[in-house]
Symmetry: D2
Subunit: 279 residues, 4 copies
């Protein structure tokens, strides 16, 4: 499937500011950038960096006082693999590949170290596998109210478990924390999400099952086979779309994604296991 996507961000910089962006999709075997363009206005010099352990792509630049505009536009081809959930097992902790182990660790917003009893109590008796992570997502979808303004950038999975409200990043954090507490590696994914309404950046998570990273979205707001990955990380602390030093006022924020080819599958998490990763 091919997607056309873009984002436009604008800021009024007061004196001077430093920007780090992570808005470009990762280049992966299953996710190929066919064409892309990044235009900074004014046309300031910028550095780029691809983090080896994640594939996340960064752009950094300094801006003087005045208006700054960032316009990114790309065409991406995505190979989505759809598996039968019943065939996707959990991997016993002692057999997990070493590189997945850090995704069992607790992180800033996913305090898995505090959740083993809760995870066991609520999901421990379920059959291990893709379906168990779907059960976690179903629970989150039912129990957590999706509501803007109920959480902020400091909100963690432990908070969300108590307060029972949040937005996509909170839903992802809670899913990740519960998975890790059960011994399932899980990581945060920032993305462009087709069908998200209103259009915006989105956050979902991946769990490591059956030797691949499978996608999960407990908000159920986007199509799992219409997600173009930007960044992966332990949690939201590692995949900020923008990190800005200096006083700025946001002026524009537009995100867009649409399929260039018809999508074969709608999002039905209980019947489809979706992955775009090879390892």
């Amino acid at each position: 499937m091919k997607f056309s996507l873009s984002c436009e961000l604008g800021y009024q910089v007061k004196d001077q500011a430093s920007f780090v962006l992570n808005i470009q999709p990762s280049q992966l075997p299953q996710q190929r950038i066919l064409r892309e363009s990044l235009v900074l206005t004014p046309d300031v010099p910028h550095e780029t960096y691809v983090m080896p352990e994640s594939g996340n792509r960064y752009v950094r630049f300094q801006a003087a006082a005045g208006e700054v505009k960032i316009a990114y536009d790309a065409e991406v081809e995505l190979d989505v693999q759809l598996d039968d959930p019943a065939t996707v097992p959990e991997i016993p902790t002692e057999q997990l590949p070493f590189p997945t182990l850090p995704h069992l660790y607790p992180s800033r917003y996913c305090q898995a170290d505090r959740l083993p009893r809760a995870a066991q109590s609520d999901f421990g008796q379920l059959e291990p596998g893709h379906g168990r992570v779907t059960a976690i997502c179903n629970w989150i979808h039912e129990q957590i109210e999706y509501k803007r303004g109920t959480s902020d950038e400091h909100t963690s999975a432990a908070d969300t478990l108590i307060d029972r409200a949040g937005v996509c990043r909170d839903f992802a954090h809670l899913g990740i924390a519960l998975c890790r507490a059960l011994g399932i590696p899980a990581r945060f994914v920032s993305c462009y999400a087709w069908r998200l309404d209103p259009p915006d950046f989105h956050a979902v998570f991946e769990a490591y099952l059956g030797g691949r990273w499978y996608l999960f979205d407990s908000t159920r707001q986007a199509a799992l086979d219409g997600l173009v990955r930007i960044g992966i990380g332990r949690d939201a602390s590692e995949v900020a779309f923008t990190t800005i030093q200096g006083e700025v006022e946001p002026t524009i924020m537009q995100v867009r994604i649409e399929p260039l080819t018809p999508l074969a599958h709608a999002y039905e998490p209980t019947v489809l296991a979706v992955t775009t990763s090879t390892s």
Copy 2:
């Protein structure tokens, strides 16, 4: 029913220490002290105080360096009222007596302000009344592991909801917090508890239902009709058995209670609503 009860506490005081005790049962219409004796060794002067709003009884004294022993012994007559739970309703918030309103407020260890969504989500659909509070207790009993060493004096209901482990005070705090979040006044009760094994002070809670304060013990470790109340408070912060200023080493701690008359009823929370309060 009549109970004989006693406690003996000993401390090695390093230099000097100030003690406030709240170990004597309250004097209530339904709970009458037939006889009591408090012996301090050495025989230091002490002040006593009954807090008007709670009926809690305090003893205060200073001790010099050396061994201090507190021996309390009493005979108490208790009138337990047993009601059919099905006949005990919740009272709509707007009709609650004013003096019960403070027991809707969040307190140090019962952050009811953060739990309305969780309480609604888990218990909101149940029929209001004594049975709903019993359902909360059943949930706590099933979900929270009773385990010494998993919590400390700073542990709150929000912590327990995440960590899913604790002791009697934690069980009581979580029950109180969930009740308040549903609009049911609830308060902490410290007590002597018949059948608690090993014998110790105990903590349960009361919820205000049908015009009275009904007893609940989600640990299910003691008989509800064998509880002799020492103190009531918003939570454990208000009913410490001992508050000690100065460096001391505990040396003795013995608590005992036994019925002097056979008890009529065993503890079956789903069939009996137990109260010892008139208002």
Copy 3:
């Protein structure tokens, strides 16, 4: 000194709502209500209550769908006692009157149980007395940024100590928590505050020193001798101006206070110890 004060609150009630108000000044020997009027529109029946242990005054009523307006207006005479701070000592814990002891307990927003080391480390070496509480207030004034939007109704003193930002209630909570951690009884005071700009309800705290409750305002936004007390409590959880059950939309919120007689003293906390309480 005499003050004229008023507040007007308006709400659009969706279906039906229950209101509990605590907006009327307490009647105290040093604070006398010369005249007052409370008008509810529509003119619904209401209950009133004075809580014995606090003197807080409550009004409760139900409102049907539609606009509700609450107009309160009063004239209050205040006897402010001004003492030389150097003459106002702390009282050793073991000599504190029993009724002040609950104001040493930790409460929802004032986790004094966690702060003894911080309080000792930062203020333990200072000379006990009124000046030490002023030092706490000075530290709060310097270290905590007064900024709307940095805290919410769940924010506690422990949060404020970390985040270093908040509004008047957060400033009061932190002062209370630090006092209690040092063994000084402290309580929350909601009030009308002359010279507060923009006019609003205000929150300060009182510490029990030298046998009286002395006023402290670490925001330094109001005159201590121009505070008309509404409620006292362990913290903000106990003195909400309004507690509303049901869906409402606030439409009006106006608070006003002005002296009818010239004030003798400006607010200079380091030279004046201000109290309006006898016990």
Copy 4:
């Protein structure tokens, strides 16, 4: 300088357990393993792994019921670079190398996102550079009580800032969190520490200054030029010495390190900046 070091760990495994160890020093240009031996008893097969992004070395094995013993022994040559602190500057955030940026992110135990105001307020006015991080360490050393039993594996920097007590990992976490909040990349270091008394594994932190990672130990319990690094990570969550799945009882825990050559420099953090990293 050469060091001889060893550790011996023993466990009684109940049924079966899976072990991941991170007890071997990293192999670095400045830290060369001259000789090492790892003996597992019984002699079970084990996997090894070196994490590319950290250099951390892992050993994994399964053990059946019974006694398990891990004996590690090594000789390590360390090139310590000692710089004049006055010559070691901070690097403006916008000039930091990209690979250091993740060490600005908040992590599980280092909630730097909540500390910018506290860090600015307490250390913002100090001259940037190595001396400012030393000032942070001095503050921690003075304000935080080093006391076993005051913290546990869930304790974070925010907790330590409130509770003012902890052990080496808590001291490191608070230092890391404050550095990150000031824009200084900082990471956790687990190590063998010469002169630590009693001997044990130790935890310190590194801050990225002047283009290198400089060592800091706010406990002041070990010599900075006598630290042999085992692992680096965002915080303690990433460098557990042992991660064990299954029920085990620890039976042996012995750690030892001693210099084979006389050490040139004692630990004087205010006059020496110590680094063992090239990048």
